[in-house]
Amino acid sequence: MATPSRPIPFLFRPIRGGRLVKHALLIAFGLVMIYPLLWMISSSLKPEDLIFREPGLWPSQVTLENYTAGWTALKHSFGYYLWNSAVVTGLSVVANLVACSLAAYAFARLEFPLKKLWFTLMLGGIMLPYHVTIVPQYIMFSKLDLINTIWPLLMPKVLATDAFFIFLMVQFIRTLPRELDEAAEIDGAGYWRIFIRVVMPLCLPALATTAIFTFIWTWNDFLSQLLYLNNPDNFTVPVALRTFLDASSDSSWGPMFAMSIIALGPIFGFFLAGQKYLIRGISTTGLK
C-alpha cells in the first residue's frame, strides 16, 4: 500500500514548489490579520506624537510613558480595575465549574422523570438571546438593591445558566465508561461519592475547557458589567476602558492603547496556556 493515506482533493496539488507558495501566502495572510495587534503593541511604546505618523512596527523611539500615564489616568489606578475584573472572573469560573458539572452529571448519568423535557429546555437556553431577559433581570436586581454589587454578574453562573458548558460536560461524561460508576456503586458509593470521586477526576479536560472559556468570556463581557456596575469604585476593566475612551481627547491614544494591551494580556496568556482545551472545546461543541 504505497498510496498516501490522504490524497489531495482540492486546491494545491503537489505541484513543484506549490507547498512553498502556500506557506508564503498563509504567512502573508496571517501577518495582515495580526498586524493591527502588533501595531497596537508597538504604538503603545511610542511617544504620543509618533503614533500616527509611523505606520511601521519598529518604534524609532521607545518609551514607557504611555503605560505610566494610562495606569493613573482614571479615578483609581488601573491595577484596581484589574483586581475587580479578576474577582468577578475568578468567582464566575468557580461558580460555573460547580453548578454546570452538577447539572451535567444528572443529565448524563441519572434517570429521572421528565428528563427529556428538561434536557430540551437546557439546549434551548443555548440559543436564547441574552437581551430577551435583560430588562426584567435588571428590574429584579434593582428592586433587590443589588445594582453595583457582584451578584447580578455572579448569580447566573451560580445557577448554571451557561447551558453551553452543561452540554459540553454532558457530552464528555457520556464518553466515560459506565463500568467505573458501577464498580464504585458495588463498593457502596452513593451518587454524590460517584460524582466527586469517579466522574469529576475523569472530567478534568472538560472542566479545563469550561474554566478557560468562562474566564475569557467573563473577562471580555461588556454589556452586563456596563449595566450593573455604575460606581467607579466597582468598575471592571472593560467598563474602565470605556470610561477612559469617553473621557479622553484625541491626545491620549497612547495611554489607551497601553491599557488595552494590559486588558488583553490575561486572555492572551490563557490562550497560550490552554490552547489544547480551547480547540478541543470548540471542535466538540462549537463554542466560540
Binding site: 482540492f10 500616527f52 453548578a99 462549537g286
Partner: protein, 319 residues
C-alpha cells in the same frame, strides 16, 4: 437517534439484575438525587431565564420606567415600533445588513482556510493559533478601541493608504463606511468556525477520496462530490450559531460609535437601540417589546434555517 440506540442496551443490562421491587425503590432514589444535582439549574431556569421571559412579555404591554408603576398600554409599544419609530426600523435594517453581509463572508473565510490547512500541512498548529486568536479577542472593548483607531481619520489604514498616495477618509466617522468597519471586525473573527470546519474535515474517511481517485475524479470533482456534501451539516451548524450570535452583537458597535450608534445611526445595532431605550431613556416597556421582537426574529430565522436545511444539508445516514 443513533446515540440513544447505542446507550439503551447498556441500561437494559444493568437494570434487570436488581429485581423489580428494589429497582423502583432505586429509581426513586435516583430521581431524588438527580433533582438535587439539578437544583441550582432549576432555580436558574426559573429566576434567570423563564421568569424574566414571561415578565418581559408582560412589560412589553406596559409603559414602565422603573420609578413609576407599570401602566397597561396594550399593543401600543409594538404599534409604535413599526409605524412611528423610524430609528427602530433603521436599527433593524442596519443589523440585517450587518448579519447578511458579515456571516457569509466570515464562514467563507473559515471554510476556505480550513480547506487549505487541512491537507496535512506542516505548521498547522501555528497557523491555526494565529487565525484563531482574533476570535478570542474580537469581542473585547480593547479590540473595539483598537478598531476605532485603525479606521480613524489618522489611523493605521489611512497611513498605509498614504504610502500608495491615496487620501483616505475617517472610516468610522463616515456614515457610508462605519458599518463596513464593523463587518470587517466580524469577518476578522473567522477562526472559531474555522476550527469547527477543521474538525469536520477530519471526520471524512480518506477511503472516500481514494475510491474517487481510482474512479478518476479530479480534485475539483472530489471537492464537489465528497468534501462539500459531507461538510454541509457543519456548514449548517456554523450558520445557525453565527446568525444567532451576530444578531446580538453589541460591544463593538457601542465602543466604535461611543454609545451613540452614529454617525447618523449607521451603526445603531438592534441591541444597542434596545439598550438606549431601556437603560438610557428608561423606557423599559418599549425595550421589553423590542426584546420579544428580537426573540421572535431569531426563533423565526432559526426555524427557517432548519426547514431550508432539508434541501441542502446532507446527513450520511439518510442515504
Amino acid at each position: 437517534m443513533a446515540d440513544s440506540v447505542a446507550v439503551k442496551p447498556r441500561d437494559a443490562v444493568t437494570e434487570p439484575a436488581r429485581g423489580g421491587h428494589r429497582s423502583t425503590k432505586r429509581s426513586r432514589r435516583e430521581a431524588r438525587a438527580a433533582y438535587l444535582f439539578l437544583a441550582p439549574w432549576f432555580a436558574g431556569l426559573l429566576v434567570i431565564t423563564i421568569g424574566p421571559i414571561v415578565a418581559s412579555l408582560y412589560l412589553s404591554f406596559t409603559d414602565y420606567s422603573l420609578l413609576d408603576e407599570a401602566t397597561w398600554v396594550g399593543w401600543d409599544n409594538y404599534v409604535r415600533m413599526f409605524t412611528q419609530d423610524p430609528r427602530f426600523l433603521n436599527s433593524l435594517w442596519v443589523t440585517t445588513v450587518y448579519v447578511v453581509v458579515s456571516v457569509p463572508m466570515q464562514l467563507a473565510f473559515a471554510l476556505g482556510l480550513a480547506l487549505v490547512l487541512d491537507r496535512g500541512l506542516r505548521g498547522l498548529p501555528f497557523y491555526r493559533s494565529v487565525f484563531y486568536l482574533p476570535s478570542l479577542l474580537g469581542g473585547s472593548v480593547a479590540i473595539a478601541i483598537l478598531w476605532r483607531k485603525v479606521f480613524g481619520a489618522d489611523g493605521l489604514v489611512n497611513a498605509v493608504l498614504a504610502i500608495f498616495g491615496i487620501q483616505g477618509t475617517g472610516w468610522v466617522a463616515h456614515p457610508d463606511y462605519a458599518l463596513g468597519t464593523l463587518i470587517l471586525l466580524h469577518v476578522w473573527t473567522f477562526g472559531a468556525p474555522m476550527i469547527i470546519f477543521l474538525a469536520g474535515l477530519r471526520q471524512i474517511p480518506s477511503s472516500y477520496y481514494e475510491a474517487a481517485a481510482v474512479d478518476g475524479a479530479g480534485p475539483v470533482r472530489q471537492f464537489r462530490a465528497i468534501t462539500l456534501p459531507l461538510l454541509t451539516p457543519i456548514i449548517f451548524f456554523n450558520l445557525v450559531l453565527e446568525l444567532i450570535k451576530s444578531f446580538q452583537s453589541f460591544t463593538q458597535a457601542f465602543i466604535v460609535s461611543n454609545g451613540s450608534g452614529g454617525p447618523a445611526d449607521s451603526t445603531l445595532f438592534y441591541t444597542l437601540y434596545l439598550y438606549l431605550q431601556g437603560f438610557r431613556d428608561y423606557d423599559m416597556g418599549y425595550a421589553a417589546a423590542m426584546a420579544w421582537v428580537l426573540m421572535l426574529i431569531i426563533a423565526g430565522l432559526t426555524a427557517v434555517n432548519f426547514l431550508a436545511s432539508k434541501y441542502w444539508v446532507f446527513y450520511g445516514d439518510t442515504k
